[in-house]
């Protein structure tokens, strides 16, 4: 019994990391209606930026967030304004193909610069510490931090969307971009800002990923799948749905892992396919699919 509770907790906390990774994707998916295939690679890019700062200068990985998050936000804004905005339209193919190309470029540039060796960000004993609760139930400190961060980020986004002028502009541009433009909203700028926020969150996710596991330049596409699954399970445009999607995926993976080491990821994929078979639009879709 205790063992299963521990497995569920582990899975749920893993889900926090997936949700964090999926949030940026969910934003660009929900607001720009754009699928960013390069999303996973951008997260890995952020992780390598952190590595490039932390390793030579001996900086605490958490402090690199102060540099990497704003840098990635700027990268996101510029990427959206210069490249992605040109591809938006009624057809989903151009943004998909362009980001597919960008994904290959980032992956192979990282490979050329950092080699194929696996690396990780070191945070000392914090990565293995755990908090013991009653009855032999243990919660990993760092995974718990990741989960708290995910909840915090999603909560902040919820506030942004519900209570601010910018949030209203985001929702307007998402629901009906043409009418939003008639009302004086500069869609291109709004999309740029959305991407900046998405990339800032992705930077956090990438750095946490590099702390919790070993990464290599090709890791992005594997991570992209989990992020996509979390977004789609949760439903388009639903902020808390993304968290639910991450949780379902993480729990399914850790349960599968108990039966056979090879079944963990497989169980996650099956959970994803099962949800889609039952509800093709995900569990909690908020935004209309255009």
């Amino acid at each position: 019994m205790t063992q299963w509770i521990n497995i569920l907790i582990q899975g749920a906390l893993l889900g926090g990391l997936y949700a964090l990774l999926a949030t940026g994707l969910s934003l660009s998916f929900g607001i720009m209606r754009m699928i960013n295939i390069a999303h996973g690679d951008l997260a890995i890019l952020a992780a390598y930026l952190a590595l490039a700062i932390a390793e030579p200068f001996g900086v605490n990985p958490f402090l690199t967030l102060l540099v990497v998050v704003p840098v990635m936000a700027v990268v996101g804004y510029v990427f959206q304004r210069t490249i992605l905005n040109r591809t938006l339209g009624s057809d989903i193919l151009p943004p998909l193909l362009v980001t597919f190309g960008v994904s290959i470029i980032i992956q192979n540039l990282l490979l050329e610069i950092f080699s194929a060796d696996t690396r990780s960000l070191k945070i000392g004993t914090l990565s293995t510490d755990s908090i013991n609760l009653i009855g032999g139930i243990a919660v990993g400190t760092f995974p718990l931090m990741v989960m708290m961060t995910a909840i915090g980020v999603l909560g902040a986004l919820q506030c942004l969307f519900s209570f601010t002028k910018l949030g209203r502009a985001f929702r307007a541009a998402s629901d009906d971009s043409e009418t939003a433009q008639l009302m004086g909203i500069n869609n291109k700028h709004i999309y740029g800002l959305a991407m900046a926020i998405a990339m800032a969150v992705t930077a956090i996710a990438g750095i946490y990923l590099a702390i919790s596991t070993n990464i290599n330049p090709a890791e992005g596409s594997a991570r992209l799948i989990y992020a996509f699954e979390a977004v789609i399970i949760g439903g388009l445009g639903s902020i808390w749905g993304t968290l639910a999607g991450g949780l379902i995926l993480g729990i399914a993976q850790s349960i599968g892992l108990q039966f056979d080491p090879g079944w963990g990821i497989l169980a996650g994929h099956f959970a994803f396919l099962a949800v889609l078979m039952l509800k093709p639009n995900g569990l909690f879709p908020i935004t209309r699919d255009r």
């Binding site: 597919f100 470029i105 996509f228 789609i232 056979d260 990821i265 994929h269």
Partner: protein, 339 residues
């Protein structure tokens, strides 16, 4: 009797185009008698990549079904080679068509899952299905598990000259056949229906097109093509492993070839394949730089010329080697004559 779909008219370029293409295929097929082995290999690779690119172009370019999971069928073709060629002892070159059958049969239940999804969801769904196939085979220890197994035993008894020659002929057959298949399909009314579905499902349905049927048949056809090609690829590679067989890199290569050459055109994949191999050979020795350059070129084309190299040529010269578009040409003389 009046046909209810307009005919496709080709100009002189189309006759020249088909003639040149056939001639190239014949020259390629005669190469085992006079060319070096390394060149045979390269040419075979060119043709099987062309076959894959045509299949992906059929799905994404003409059908609007953006699959990121065609490697599922390439991998299944590879494992069909293991089961039928290595275990059952069937001649590996006979396995190639059988692998197509295996992939086609597998595409039926897979299609049932992925066709519940649309657009972006479809893209992700197909990818997940390919990953599921990879992981399932990686967990099957009797088929070599994660490290895969060698298929040398299956091809060992075939004399080396014949092996190289058959590989090339089958590659030429698949590349040429895939091109011909897409060409003929698009000139038929089914092709018209397919592009109509791509452009607007609602409008196509209101004109009486069965969307489900046309999408399914194209999806299965593409799976068959990829499955046959997959079996042939692993005859040349001699080792099948889940990582290599179900690698998303296959789809990446198809994507480059089609996007650079010109998506939604038949000529595009041919030109794209030539550019792909040229870039790869030129940048040979620079590690993965050829992928970076190719990625940049593909992004550039998507941004500034979404119809690729072939689209530029068409715009400039109004050239149609494989005409498939219906163009209204008023033939006044004929019209007057019939009165």
């Amino acid at each position: 009797m009046k046909k209810n779909t307009p005919d496709v008219q080709g100009g002189p370029a189309s006759y020249i185009g088909v003639a040149v293409w056939v001639m190239l295929l014949v020259i390629a097929a005669s190469m085992p008698w006079w060319a070096e082995r390394a060149n045979l290999r390269l040419l075979a690779e060119f043709f099987y990549m062309l076959a894959l690119a045509q299949m992906w172009n059929l799905l994404a370019g003409y059908g609007g079904m953006l699959s990121v999971g065609q490697q599922a069928y390439i991998g299944l073709g590879g494992y069909a080679l293991v089961l039928l060629g290595l275990r059952a002892g069937i001649n590996p070159f006979l396995v190639v068509p059988l692998a197509g059958l295996v992939a086609g049969v597998a595409a039926l239940p897979i299609g049932f899952v992925v066709f519940r999804l649309r657009g972006a969801y479809f893209a992700v769904g197909t990818w997940v299905v390919a990953e599921v196939c990879r992981l399932l085979l990686a967990n099957t220890t009797s088929l070599g598990g994660g490290s895969g197994l060698s298929v040398i035993q299956a091809v060992r008894d075939i004399p080396s000259w014949w092996r190289e020659a058959f590989t090339l002929w089958m590659a030429v057959g698949l590349g040429g056949g895939a091109t011909l298949f897409v060409y003929l399909l698009l000139r038929s009314r089914h092709g018209l229906a397919l592009t109509a579905v791509r452009d607007s499902e609602q409008a196509a349905e209101s004109l009486g097109i069965s969307i489900g049927r046309i999408k399914w048949s194209v999806y299965v056809a593409s799976a068959i093509g990829c499955g046959m090609t997959g079996a042939l690829i692993f005859i040349t590679k001699l080792r099948v492993s889940p990582e290599a067989a179900f690698s998303v890199d296959w789809t990446v290569a198809m994507f480059f070839i089609v996007v650079i050459g010109g998506i939604g055109t038949i000529e595009g994949p041919i030109i794209g394949a030539v550019i792909y191999f040229l870039l790869r050979e030129v940048l040979n020795g620079f590690g993965s730089w050829y992928l970076i350059v190719m990625g940049a070129v593909a992004v550039g084309f998507m941004l500034w010329s979404p119809k690729g190299v072939w689209g530029l040529l068409v715009k400039k010269f109004d050239l149609h080697l494989f005409p498939v578009q219906r163009r209204l040409r008023l033939n006044i003389k004929k019209h007057l004559g019939s009165q």
